[in-house]
Amino acid sequence: MNAVLRLLAQRIALGAGSLLAVSVLIFLGTEILPGDVAQAILGQAATPEAVAAIRETLDLNQPAYIRYFDWLGGILQGDLGTSLANRRPIGEMIGERLQNTLFLAAVSAAIAVPLAVFLGLIAARFRNSWLDKSISIATLSTISMPEFFVGYVLIFIFAVTLRWAPSLASVYDSMSLGEKLYAIALPCATLTLVVVAHMMRLTRAAIINVMSSPYIEMAELKGVTRSRITLYHAFPNALSPIINVVVLNLAYLVVGVVLVEVVFVYPGMGQLMVDAVAKRDVPVVQACGLIFAAAYILLNMTADILSILSNPKLRHPRS
């Protein structure tokens, strides 16, 4: 077990290291972005004098590395800085939106992950049957459409025509959990449709991969039922790739749902970052980027740790 613990400790330390590296990259990336905040704030209205005035107030004339360390130092003390565009503390701007993003991601994941794994298991168990094929075709068709388009179609059917669900996913603090769930019904359905296929296909493939191993054959020869084999013999041994694809999709749910937010007018982080990029509101972009990066690294780390734990060989080294 010690070996595992050491592996874990190592992995966590490396995760922290990556985060630091990312922070540098994000800082540099936002520096490279052409255009600058002073001009973007004023848009078409930017005159050289107005731009100069803004640059002056924003302290943009200091060298980059000094600003990097200032920034990093602030973050370590929990201070994300102030937005350049509207002078509000970034922590305040992000707080609620981060909650919203995580809420939507969590609800979607709670539906999509079990559904995908279940469908994957069914498809693998009844491999090449009509059931398998129809699950595949249905899920593949939904991911062949861009997510904003899936959203439009759902809005047309369920909001405009049938009037079952709202087309705007506005959520406020004062709403009860039930009301919030109702409000996000359509974005949640959209995201579920978008991510299920990927996870389902990979689950199926990973299980089929394991199903051809000698020990499965052994179990079959012993007369264990196919369903039992799929669930108890094949599934645990196919976990590693499944965990990885699940995590990839979780990361997408947190980081990649900008278009869904736009379509359903959901106040999440993605929208904040897009606006900030457009306005060259660099501190906000950096803060969002860092939070997204942290989410990614955390999720990847979890996936690696779970993979280590789920791999019998890695769990029980011979020496």
Partner: protein, 523 residues
């Protein structure tokens, strides 16, 4: 929109008085009898009080602030007119009418203007509005340290002072017969002296209760609002709806009562939806393709003429605006402006002339047009059409799509040939000064002519209308003939509302920004 549709809607909207309506109808050449029949139906109804209005507006950003110095796009400007008022406002003919200023008077040479302020107007915080507040609010946009985009308009002001408790005197560095029009700008909202500009405290029809940038704003009716016949509803919730489809479906489902910027392509489809009305307002806003006249090959007048003849304006108005707009004639003055020069011949699509001028210019090879939909709605499609039109004249236009992000900083005023948009200005002088004067910061064709500048300044200070009209005529001809802009069209502003709201005043400039105080429920 035909003129009858327009009149029918104008009558129905109830946004104008009966007399104004008849004048408008006469201007459009509609017989009095017909106009009366429209008017008869419409003006029987008095605006109702009460109700909770929900509006869906585009252009909201999570970076928005209530500070009027930062106002750039429609959403926040609409919110601005909820909490604030200007000194003057524009009526449906884009003429100024009194708002917080009751009257204004120029000195004989039009270099000094005296504004008399309305008395007994209270701010939301209970303080009475005085000249000191006006000076404070306007100075927020002036001077060395300001970051306001309105700074440029106010540069001609050399002195601004309170000459009485309710009188403000403005001194200019040169004569300007149109000076009060500047005070209608959406940046120049009046705030209490010494207040935080981002607090949203003003004299406006609504009091901001909550402001979530990029999401929504909630405001309730100001119980002490001073303006008669305005602010009918109890509250206004303004939702940021940046996605076109989100706006349309929110309106269809009744989640909002009115939305702005409907895509002309979908208007006919949306019209058929039950309970929805379309409100199209002709505007001074125009789409254009500026050419940098300081760069080859556009430094050649024949080249510019070739490109002006190589575009089929009607086709673009039909395809991009679906008829919700007017053909432009390569100068920025709209047809309803009093100084519009109606006798300038229309530049029509003429491949032969285009070819002739193109060959005469001595240029050969393709021309690159940098474009993105950030320039204006449908810009990439318009460029694709332009390319087809020009090809028939033997001119090859390479359309190069650039990222929407950063378009105004990286492409506009940088690339030799690109797309652009002007929202229109209330006066010919403002429009020409802002984009065609040699030293204008936004002279996007880099067109520089000394005789133009001189005439423009002379026209600005001229108080004799007939003389002035001739001067503006000559200025338009110069741009039309020699200028570096292809202006294919003026667009309509298209709103869509539920059929139980009315009252929007169809101003061709700053269209719809004051909808919150104008709209009321009919049932």
């Amino acid at each position: 929109m035909s003129k009858y549709d327009y009149l029918a809607w104008l009558a129905k909207s109830g946004g104008v008085t009966r007399r104004e309506f008849m004048n408008r109808a006469a201007a459009l050449g509609v017989t009095t009898a017909l106009a009366t029949s429209f008017a008869g139906k419409a003006f029987a109804q008095e605006p109702q009080k009460g109700g909770d209005l929900k509006i869906g507006i585009d252009g909201g950003e999570s970076t928005n602030s209530l500070d009027p110095a930062t106002y750039l796009s429609t959403y926040i400007q609409t919110v601005g007119f909820q909490w604030g008022n200007c000194l003057v406002e524009l009526d449906e003919n884009a003429k100024i009418i009194p708002e917080l200023a009751e009257s204004w008077e120029p000195s004989d040479d039009a270099t000094q203007w005296v504004f008399k302020l309305r008395k007994g107007v209270q701010f939301h915080n209970g303080k009475e509005m005085t000249a000191a507040d006006v000076v404070y609010s306007i100075n927020h946009h002036r001077g060395e340290g300001t970051e306001s985009a309105a700074k440029t308009y106010l540069e001609a002001i050399t002195d601004l002072r309170a000459t009485d408790t309710h009188e403000v005197t403005v001194t200019l560095n040169s004569a300007n017969a149109d000076m009060p029009y500047i005070m209608a700008d959406y940046h120049l909202l009046i705030m209490p002296e010494g207040s935080d500009p981002a607090s949203g405290v003003g004299t406006g029809p609504f009091v901001i209760e909550s402001f979530e940038p990029g999401v929504r704003t909630f405001a309730t009716r100001n119980p002490n609002y001073w303006k008669d016949g305005r602010a009918h509803v109890d509250s206004v919730e303004s939702l940021v709806l940046n996605d076109l489809t989100a706006r349309t479906s929110a309106l269809q489902t009744g989640a909002v009562h009115i939305v702005n910027r409907v895509d002309p392509k979908t208007v006919d489809l949306l019209k058929r939806a039950p309970g929805v009305q379309i409100i199209a307002v002709p505007s001074a806003g125009h789409y254009l393709f500026p050419m940098r006249t300081d760069m080859a090959p556009f430094d050649n007048k024949d080249m510019r003429l070739a490109l002006k003849y190589a575009i089929d304006r009607k086709d673009i108005v039909d395809k991009i605006l679906r008829g919700y707009g007017e053909v432009g004639n390569d100068h920025p003055i709209p047809s309803f402006d009093p100084f519009y020069a109606a006798d300038i011949p229309q530049h029509n699509y003429d491949p032969d002339k285009a070819k002739h001028h193109f060959q005469k210019s001595g240029a050969s090879g393709p021309i690159t047009l940098h474009i993105s939909n950030a320039a204006f709605t449908g810009a990439v499609d318009a460029a694709a059409l332009y390319r087809e039109h020009a090809a028939k004249a033997g001119i090859t236009i390479n359309v190069e799509r650039t990222p929407e992000d950063g378009y105004w900083t990286e492409v506009w005023m940088n690339k030799a040939f690109c797309g652009s948009y002007w929202g229109g200005r209330p006066t010919a002088d403002l429009m020409l000064s802002v984009a065609y004067k040699s030293d204008a910061a936004w002279n996007d064709s880099y067109w520089k002519r000394e005789d133009f500048d001189k005439l423009l300044i002379a026209a600005r200070g001229e108080l004799d209308t007939a003389k002035r009209k001739q001067m503006y005529h000559d200025l338009q001809v110069m741009i039309w003939e020699d200028g570096g802009v292809v202006i294919p069209m003026f667009n309509n502003y298209i709103f869509a509302g539920r059929d139980n709201v009315a009252g929007l005043v169809p101003s061709p400039v700053l269209t719809g920004l004051r909808m919150s105080e104008q709209l009321y429920f009919t049932s």
